[in-house]
């Protein structure tokens, strides 16, 4: 352990301590301090993440051998639905923006708080209520939802399971996401400190900005879509019911008009984290600042024009298939621009392989594999072969768990000392990283092969020829779980007994590092005057 474990008195109380005689649980649950709200989100998200991981482990355990009877078919359907709904709507979508975005956005801008602090608290409450309603849908009515997280009609209208309550939960969660996005866009426009020009914004803020626009503009479409599913079930509308002249394809359009942009809500903030971490540990200015910032906006824009690539086998016209396939290839360009700029930043840098950079490199690897396999599905021809197979499951988990997940862990390791004022054990963090990376690849890579060989997703059972891949995948899930356990235990130990980290342990140049760790309640004593960019390390060093 760390030798300095006996120095807690050297850590300033900061925002974690009670202020002005107000303490206790209420000072957290009704706080308008963006830093505390960020931590509230973090606690909820990590809890739900643990639930989602357990559901995934159960699913993998059931699939370990063909003919396995660990779960009944109905339970199995419920488990993969809940795994998807929890992970997508309650963990990944709010993950980085709601936790680190909330915590850091005002700090990166040199502001006291977000534009609408009370609205921010309201968003969190909506998130909490939405999550509770989702949990309610599992235990009430006639069984947990079994539709998959996509709630495709007509099945979602006919199933007797508790879909109505689940879609209501998604609606509430969507509302929470919209309000966070609205708050962030306004904050970035209005709350920048003197001298914080648009070109001096950190790339993390740029990515939050692009994300926030997608949240504001796309999420309402999800809102109306799930409301319609609710109305179809409860009020018997028949808008998507083919027997009454409705068209189920329109549901898919509406759903993906939101849900494709939603994957950019998930990945863009992680890209921002990565863009902020790499220059710090390469001791170099970011390469291609403008292109990275611009590509975030491009992704947000083009990303909203590609939704029908989820529907190549649904029976849309050939012209639509070709058009959406083409646009999908276009949207890969800005992502690639980012990857090349990150690599160029690392090139000839003075690299120190601290845990945040390690998780970041893991992100780049996983995201690249995930992104390239995405193109295979974006191409109209091969997609027919791999559509709705394990290939898409592998692709999605490479991008979202390998990308956003590792990005989130990188952020955790990077900003942990700022949030809590203490440092975790860095060696153990590295060990955990390698176990996680090995586990992820062991878990998800066989899925590409299985998918190519024709194993459909969401099936309860499989033919003997898929047994090897399924077995390796399940073993990978155990390795991954062990790595996650080690990582979180290490962070927890750091939280309790870690050595004081000091204000700027990584020698970074963004504004949050000029504050004590953890930062005080009101952030900056005086509004800072910004006279340098976010990656101006030479300048920062000469100040000290």
């Amino acid at each position: 352990m760390n030798q300095a474990a006996t120095l807690p008195q050297s850590i300033p109380p900061g925002y974690l301590a009670s202020s002005q005689g107000k303490g206790g649980l209420a000072s957290w649950l009704f706080t308008t301090d963006h830093k505390r709200i960020g931590l509230l989100y973090l606690a909820c998200i990590l809890t739900l993440f643990a639930v989602g991981v357990c559901l995934g482990l159960i699913m993998r355990l059931k699939l370990i051998t063909p003919g396995n009877q660990l779960l009944t078919p109905q339970t199995y359907n419920a488990v993969f639905t809940l795994h998807g709904v929890i992970m997508i709507f309650m963990v990944v979508i709010p993950s980085i923006p709601a936790t680190f975005g909330n915590f850091l956005l005002p700090l990166h801008l040199g502001a006291q708080d977000v534009s609408f602090p009370r609205l921010n608290l309201f968003s969190w409450w909506l998130y909490l209520i939405g999550s509770l309603v989702a949990v309610l849908s599992i235990f009430t009515g006639s069984g947990a939802p079994d539709t998959g997280w996509t709630f495709y009609v007509p099945f979602s209208e006919r199933t007797t399971t508790n879909v109505s309550v689940a879609v209501l939960a998604v609606f509430i969660l969507g509302f929470s996401s919209i309000l966070t996005g609205l708050n962030f866009v306004t904050t970035i426009h209005q709350m920048r400190a003197r001298g914080m020009t648009w070109r001096r914004l950190s790339l993390f803020v740029w990515s939050l900005y692009a994300t926030a626009w997608v949240q504001v503009l796309a999420t309402p479409v999800l809102g109306i879509t799930v409301l319609l599913v609710f109305a179809e079930r409860v009020l018997n509308l028949g808008l998507f019911d083919p027997t009454r002249g409705g068209d189920p394809l329109l549901y898919q359009h509406l759903f993906w008009i939101y849900s494709h942009p939603a994957v950019y809500i998930m990945i863009l903030p992680a890209m921002g984290v990565v863009s902020d971490i790499i220059p710090v540990f390469a001791r170099k200015r970011i390469f291609g600042y403008k292109m990275i910032a611009f590509s975030s906006l491009t992704i947000a824009f083009v990303g909203s024009l590609v939704w029908a690539h989820h529907m190549f086998t649904s029976g849309i016209s050939d012209f639509a298939v070709l058009l959406f396939s083409f646009l999908t290839f276009i949207v890969a360009v800005p992502s690639a621009i980012k990857v090349f700029n990150w690599l160029s930043t690392l090139y000839k840098g003075s690299i120190s392989l601290e845990p945040p950079l390690l998780y970041t490199l893991g992100f780049i690897w996983m995201f690249s594999v995930g992104g390239l396999t995405g193109l295979i599905q974006g191409a109209a021809g091969p997609d027919i072969h791999v559509h709705d197979t394990y290939f898409i499951v592998g692709h999605f988990h490479y991008v979202i768990f390998g990308g956003t997940g590792l990005g989130m862990f990188a952020a955790l390791h990077y900003w942990f000392p700022k949030m809590f004022g203490r440092m975790y054990d860095r060696r153990r963090a590295r060990t955990a990283f390698w176990i996680i990376l090995a586990g992820m690849n062991l878990l998800y890579f066989p899925m590409f092969v299985l998918g190519m060989e024709g194993m459909p997703r969401r099936y309860y059972d499989y033919l003997p020829e898929f047994a090897t891949g399924q077995f390796i995948s399940t073993v990978g899930s155990w390795v991954l779980a062990a790595g996650l356990g080690l990582m979180f235990w290490n962070l927890y130990a750091g939280l309790r007994r870690g050595a004081p980290a000091g204000p700027n342990p990584w020698g970074a140049a963004t504004l949050e590092w000029t504050l004590s760790s953890p930062p005080p309640h009101e952030n900056f004593e005086h509004e800072p005057r910004v006279d340098h960019g976010p990656y101006d390390f030479a300048r920062e060093a000469s100040h000290e």
Binding site: Q112, D113, G181, H189, Q190, T219, A231, L237, L239
Partner: protein, 199 residues
């Protein structure tokens, strides 16, 4: 956090963003409407003929007038005429309620004829008419909920004006509520021709 600084431009920006979200919310429904109209044109025209254009037209006039009153309420407060502002707000709220009452008559007349979502009567109609009525109930229903929210919102603002919490030098809440009310009006201005006038 002690000094509460009011960011007028920020509050306006936030409100406009919220209005965007409302537009995309209704946008999903307008998308469905346009596809189904394209597919079932004759059925839509026939079904639209059964709607009461007089009631719909009256409601349109009511909402547009209420928007005028809303604008007058804002300009009254900007000039410091608190009493006039309150009067105009009361008129706006009353007209919002009038709209809802009208809507209630209209819907209950439809229900009496056996026209409600999922009814036997609707299922017996030629294909497309069922879809028309489903859209009609969904879109005017969602709009009605927005009118109701607007009425409640404006009543609260009325109270705030009366208590001097919203006043000549701090009227952003009134102005933002006005923006919301105009949006509700605007959505109706699209709904009216799409459902009543396409016969």
């Amino acid at each position: 956090m002690s000094e509460t600084h009011k960011d007028y431009a920020g509050a306006k920006l936030g409100m406009w963003l919220f209005l965007f979200t409302e537009i995309t919310l209704f946008g999903g429904l307008f998308l469905l409407y346009s596809v189904y109209l394209h597919r079932y044109q004759p059925a839509f025209h026939q079904a639209a003929a059964t709607l009461d254009t007089f009631l719909g037209g009256a409601n349109t006039v009511i909402l547009i007038t209420s928007s005028l009153c809303m604008a007058l309420a804002i300009s009254a407060l900007q000039r410091g005429q608190q009493a006039r502002c309150k009067l105009m707000l009361i008129l706006t709220v009353l007209m919002g309620l009038g709209f809802l009452v009208n809507k209630g008559f209209e819907w209950s007349a439809k229900f009496d004829h056996g026209i409600y979502p999922g009814s036997e009567h609707l299922r017996g109609l030629p294909q497309g008419q069922d879809t028309f009525y489903s859209l009609y109930f969904t879109m005017t229903g969602l709009h009605g909920i927005h009118v109701l929210i607007g009425v409640v919102l404006l009543s609260v603002v009325l109270l705030l004006v009366a208590r001097q919490r919203v006043r000549q030098d701090d009227f952003i809440i009134l102005e933002n509520s006005g923006l919301y009310w105009h949006l509700v009006d605007l959505v109706w201005i699209y709904l009216f021709p799409l459902f009543y006038l396409i016969t």
